[in-house]
Every structure is written in C-alpha cells, then in structure tokens.
C-alpha cells in the first residue's frame, strides 16, 4: 500500500515541481537588453562536427558584432541547443529557445530536425535563416531562408557542370551516394534527372553515416573516369583511400559542398590520393585570399582546424546577414528593432529587408541575394582541392 503510494506521490510531486519550476524560469526575461539569436543543432552524436562548427562560428560572429558595439547600443546573445540530429527533440528545443527570448533564429543545422523547426517557427512567425539545412522545402514558409544551396540546386548545378565540361571515353559517370540520407539522396536524384542522356550512370550506395567497408562500391565504380560524390567528406575520404589503387589515376572525383573539409581533416593526407579531387561549393576551407581567408584564420586561431568546414562559414555569414539586415532596418526606423521587439514583428521587419533589394557579401559569396521563396542566389564555385598527381 505504502509502496504504491510513495511512488505515485513522488511522481506527482516531481512533475508538478518540475512544471512550476520551469514556469518560474520562463517568467524571468520580460525586459531584455540584448538581442537573442537561437539555433538548434547536433552538438553531440555522429553529426556533432557540423553542429559545433555552426555554434562556434555563430558565436564568433556575435562576439565580433558585440565588440564593435552591437546594434543601437544593444548587445547580441547567441544560444545553441543540442538536437542530436533528432527531429523529436526540436519541439522542446524550440520552446527552450523561445524561453531564452529568441527573436531571430538560424533554424536547425541539419535537414531532418530543420523540417520540424520550419513548421514550428511558422506558428509563431519567427524569422530563421539556416546555414546548412539543405532540403528544398526548408524555406517553404515565408519566415524561412537558406544561406546554403538547396539540394535541387546542387544536383542541377553539378549535372550542368558534368554535361558541359566532362567527357569520358566510355561515357560512364559513376555516383556514390548514401542511401537513406536526405542530403545525399536529394542531390543524387536531381543529378540523375538532369544528366545528359549520352551518359550512362553507374550507381553505388552505402547506408552508414560512417562506413568502414566500401570495397563493393569500389568494385562497381572502378571503370569510371568521373565519379560524382554527393556525400560528406568522411565517407568520401574512406572511399578515396580504398579506391586509390583500383580506380584509374586519371579519374576525377567531383563532389558538392559536403566534400568541403576533406583536405583539412587531421591526419588525412589528400596528396596520397592520386586522382583529382574537386567540388562545387560556396566555400573552400583552404582559401588563401579574401573574406574566406580572414574567416579561416580567425576560426582556426580560436577553435582549431578540427571543425572548420562550410557549415561554420555559412553560419558566420548568416549571423552577419541578419545583423546587416537588422541594422538597415534600424537605420530606417530605430523603434522597430529593439531587444523588446517580438519575434513576429522582427520577422516582418527582416522579411521586408530581405525582399527589398538587400544584398550581402561575406565569406561564402559576394552580392548574395534571396529570392521570394527564401532560396539563396549566389555563385557556386568549383574548387579543385587537389589536381591529378603525376
């Protein structure tokens, strides 16, 4: 009798206290004196490297803005919560961010949770610009913007590039993609549809986020002279190492923005790969000049080379693009942009800015604009990481 009672009494007591405690915490920030930017991303688990890159870079950008005086005398605050790359954590994460007083957001770092975030943020009309959630329907609603290329665009750009520039003796184009991964499969499907009919596509796929054995895939692709790799750099490096003696040294490996970071991976020697490695992206972590170089130097000095990748660069740009847009709006009417502006009002202000001829130049491109749907318009550049070895 008592055993049951104590257990149940405990349950009720704990839940009630928890809810009230949470409620009390929620009541605190009513009158704020700083702008709050929030993001939800994988800070632990297999995708943590991307979430951490975004968190570090955004924090860096916010620190710089604050050092320069913030906006209208107000500082910025950046909050990153961990979603473990799991969409079911997004609802409570979003609530946490709202409780922190989030006015503007970077959305989610990755696509899967991002799809949940875009619908939740629509309810409250919270503006977000995601640095790296690439799915096409992330900017589905008016409050969503992307700093990265959407999957369709990447697939189309890549296919166009191949159609225009690539000739192979056997007309074979190899593709290695990750089945069941939204990013990889999204790009691959578009690439397949856009590829000129003269090419025969040789496909191979794997399923793990961190595959260890790609020998069968190497066997399938070994006759190709051009291999498209719409995957992240870790599996790509495994593929390259396992394929280096089997695939012809004249072969070209060509990827998308996920391949960025491959040359800066600690311990991986890109020069041991005889084939050419290149990718189409908006950022190159080996950049030697311009804004990208400045960003890379600052990032490496602060956080090391480990998590340097295009996710971070994109996040850095997101924060600055949002800041610039807020500043532009502030200059027009300084009553509309204060730390006490509601998220929904801020969203309307920012939307007007971004649709009103706003352009931004930063690390991942110059004269970046956004179209009515929230998709980004900027140049995709082909970076050659490593030319063919002789």
């Amino acid at each position: 009798m008592k055993k049951w009672f104590t257990k149940v009494a405990m349950a009720v007591a704990v839940t009630l206290t928890a809810v009230f405690a949470a409620f009390l915490v929620g009541c605190q920030n009513k009158n704020k004196n700083e702008f709050v930017i929030g993001v939800s991303g994988p800070l632990t688990g297999p995708a943590a490297v991307y979430g951490l890159a975004v968190k570090n870079s955004a924090q860096m950008a916010v620190d710089e803005i604050n050092e320069a005086g913030g906006l209208g005398g107000y500082k910025f605050k950046f909050v990153a919560v961990d979603d473990k790359h799991d969409a079911s954590t997004v609802s409570t994460n979003y609530a946490t961010l709202v409780k922190e007083g989030m006015q503007v957001s970077l959305g989610c770092v990755t696509t899967k949770p991002g799809l949940e975030f875009k619908s939740l943020s629509k309810e409250d009309n919270v503006f977000f610009m995601t640095p790296s959630a690439t799915a096409d329907n992330i900017p589905e609603f008016a409050n969503g913007y992307q700093m990265c290329f959407a999957d369709t665009k990447q697939g189309t750009y890549s296919a166009n590039y191949v159609n225009d520039n690539v000739t192979t003796s056997n007309n074979k184009i190899g593709v290695l993609y990750r089945a069941g991964d939204d990013y990889s499969q999204g790009i691959y499907n578009n690439f397949k549809n856009q590829l000129a009919p003269k090419f025969t596509l040789v496909e191979a796929s794997f399923t793990d986020d961190n595959p260890t054995d790609l020998s069968s895939q190497v066997e399938l692709l070994k006759d190709c002279e051009f291999i498209f790799l719409p995957i992240y750099y870790t599996p790509a490096s495994v593929f390259m190492l396992q394929a280096k003696d089997k695939v012809s040294a004249d072969c070209v490996y060509f990827g998308c923005d996920g391949l960025d970071g491959i040359e800066s991976s600690e311990g991986f020697d890109i020069n041991s790969i005889p084939q050419e490695v290149s990718y189409l992206s908006h950022f190159n972590s080996n950049a030697t000049e311009g804004a990208a170089k400045t960003y890379i130097d600052k990032y490496v000095a602060k956080y090391g080379k480990d998590t340097l990748n295009q996710f971070g660069a994109s996040a850095y740009d997101c924060v600055y693009a949002i800041y610039n847009a807020m500043k532009a709006a502030y200059d027009k009417d300084n009553s509309k942009v204060t730390p006490n502006t509601s998220a929904s009002d801020m969203c309307e202000v920012l939307k007007t800015e971004f649709q009103g001829g706003f352009s931004y130049s930063g690390v991942t491109g110059t004269n970046i604009t956004w179209d009515r749907d929230g998709y980004v318009n900027k140049a995709a550049v082909k970076y050659v990481v490593k030319a063919k070895s002789n």
Binding site: A22, T92, V98, K112
Partner: protein, 385 residues
C-alpha cells in the same frame, strides 16, 4: 469472496493520481499558466509512459526481453500518420475524429506486427529473442527509410498533421488512463496470473493447462498495440515522422525506463518514464552550447549509479535502510510498518537466471517442501486422533 467486493485503494491510486494530474494540467493550461515547453514536455511524458508500460508488459510480466519496441512504434507512427494525413485532406479535417481513427488504425497495424514477431517468440528464448526483436525493429526502419517519396516520404520522412498543442497532451493523458485500465485489468485477472506463471516457469504453466502460445501472442500483440498508439501520438506531436528516430537505441531507452522502474511494476514504469523524460529534456535545455556534451555523461552516471544502487547484492543492507520509503516514513513521522515480504516482490520478474535453463534442484526441493507441508497437517491430525 469478501476480497473481491472490497474496494482496494492501491489498485486505483494510479488512476486517481494521473486523473488528478490531467485535471490540474488542463486547468493550468486553460488559465494560460502552461507555456510552450511545458506542453511539449507533457506530450513527451505521456508518450514515454505509454511506451514504458507497454514494454513492461512483455519484459516485466511475460519475462521476455524485447529490443524492438521502437519498431512497433515506428509502424504505428507511419501508418497512423499516413491515415491522418489522408483524412486531413478529406472532409474530416484534423480534429478529434481524425486522431481517434488514426490511433485505432495505427495501433492495429502495430498489433499485427506484434503477432508476427510473437510467432518466433514461441520458439526463441532470452537473448535470442532479444536480437530477433532488435532485428525486426531495424528492418522496419530500413523499409520506411527506403520508401518512395509519395508513399512514406523516404529519408525526409512523412509529413503528418500536427494536433493542436493546447489539447494534445490532455488526449495523451486520457490515453494513458485508457491503457492503464486495459492493462491493469488484464494483469489482475486470471489471464494476468497465467502470463506471470509463464514467466516464472513456462513448463509448469504448460503443465497446468495454460495455453502458452495464446498468451504469448496476446501479450506481444497488446504491447505492440500500445506502442503503435504511442507512435500515432508521436506523429501528432510532430510535423513529420522520420524513421531514423526509431532505431534500437530508442528501444533501449524505453527498456531503461522499464528496468529502472522495476520489473513488473506498472507504477514504477510510469514514474521512471516521467522522470527520465523530464531529466533528458531539462538536461538539453540547461546544458546548451559548450556544455551540451555533458548531457550524456551526466545521464550515463545517473544510470549506472541508480542501477548499481538498486540491484547490487552487496548493497542490500544499505538499500533497506536508505530508501525512499523509509525516507518518506521519517518525513511524515509515521511508524515503520512491517511489510509482508510476499507482497513486496509479487510482480517482479526474476532475471537472475537464463530462462532457457530450468533449475533442476530448485524444482525438486520445491516438491519436497510441498510434500512436507502437506504432510504436516496429516501428522498433526494423526497425533491428535
């Protein structure tokens, strides 16, 4: 017969408490006290409770280890979610009727899968069954992951209508009550005793004429049914159902709730599901930014310490003097009642031996004891006459 008519408070205490919680939270909600995060938290807690109690049925009462509970949930979430997505575009809209139909369909779909996985369970025991259920869960996940965009959305998942968050957690609580009513009534009936007897000794149960096949399938189907309902609830609490969520790690997470709550204890499962969900959400909202990595360390340490405290044979004495019960009785300054030892462990599954192996000596010695005790009165009678 007297016992039957007697109203036992302990059999209804969990309905009362959960019912009270439902009413309190409903009132709080409509007076506007509950915020976004509390509503989301309560949604998650109700889903976790349904999952934990339904898994507890298999693990704690039937005594089989299942690592595929997330697979049943996955089926419920996808099938129920698909139904609700189809219905929402019809005249039915996204209201309560839609939710009820989806829940029933999703639950039944999962129950059918439960029977399918219950069939090998008739042949397999212990860890072999565990791996088969795990394999089942992973197969389900892979199939949905590779579905076409039109059917179940493939990698980006199935878009499902989200239910009004002001009401969903209340529906969740009501579903918890319904589930408790069904499961507790079964457990406390002759069927429940048949199920626990299968757990304690399958051969003995069979020998007494219990239809082991039927009961095993019943338990698997029932457990899967509620897991499926939890899945449908999940699909209503999210804008999208994504199958990567339902991997074996999630099944293990549910198992952790059951084990920490105590084998064969419905209330224990409810309590630990509530606490673990609460702990995880709070850790995620407190440990933000650079501290996020500490979440798992903290969670892991709590897990290890609680399990060692609860189960270590060496700590038995310590446990008896330092536990919640004595803490509370001290707190309320009540006298320490002697608890009947036979009552304390009434519903507890014993996992200290492999279920495949029948302990010969134990059976024999038990027989001897029985004959002794039956002999005794005879002796006494003989002596008196």
């Amino acid at each position: 017969m007297k016992d039957k008519s007697k109203f036992k408070l302990k059999h209804f205490i969990n309905y009362i408490v959960i019912g009270a919680a439902t009413i309190i939270f409903t009132i709080l909600n409509f007076t506007g006290v509950l915020g976004l995060s509390e509503q989301f938290l309560l949604e998650k807690i109700t889903i976790a409770i349904i999952l934990a109690v339904s898994l507890g049925l298999v693990v704690g009462f039937l005594g089989e280890l299942s690592l595929g509970h997330a697979g049943f949930m996955c089926i419920g979430a996808y099938i129920g979610g698909k139904i609700s997505a189809l219905l929402s575009s019809s005249s039915l809209g996204t209201g309560l009727p839609n939710l009820l139909i989806s829940i029933i369909v999703g639950g039944i779909a999962a129950a059918i899968a439960g029977v399918a996985i219950g069939l090998p369970a008739l042949r397999l025991k212990g860890d072999y069954l565990a791996i088969v259920t795990l394999a089942f869960g992973e197969i389900v996940k892979t199939l949905f992951l590779n579905s076409s965009d039109e059917s179940f959305g493939g990698p980006i998942g199935l878009e499902t209508p989200r239910y009004d968050r002001n009401h969903l957690f209340i529906i969740g609580f009501v579903l918890v009550l319904v589930m408790l009513a069904i499961i507790q009534n079964i457990i406390r009936s002759k069927h429940g005793r048949a199920i626990t007897s299968i757990r304690d000794s399958e051969i003995a149960a069979r020998a007494t004429g219990i239809n082991v096949t039927r009961y095993k399938l019943l338990v698997f189907a029932l457990s899967a049914f509620f897991a499926g309902i939890a899945g449908v609830l999940y699909s209503f609490s999210n804008y999208r159902v994504q199958c990567t969520k339902f991997d074996y790690n999630y099944s293990i997470e549910i198992l952790v709730m059951v084990v920490l709550g105590g084998m064969g204890s419905v209330n224990g499962s409810i309590l630990s599901a509530t606490l673990i969900t609460f702990l995880q959400v709070q850790l995620a909202s407190i440990l933000t930014g650079d501290l996020a990595v500490l979440q798992n360390i903290f969670y892991a340490l709590v897990l290890i310490l609680i399990v060692i405290y609860n189960n270590a044979p060496a700590l038995k004495g310590f446990r008896e003097t330092h536990n919640l019960k004595t803490f509370f009785s001290k707190l309320f300054k009540k006298k320490k009642e002697d608890v009947d030892p036979s009552l304390v462990k009434d519903d507890e599954a014993k996992w200290n031996r492999i279920p495949t192996k029948i302990n010969m000596d134990e059976l024999l010695s038990m027989d001897v004891k029985v004959t002794e005790s039956t002999m005794k009165p005879d002796k006494d009678k003989g002596g008196s006459s």
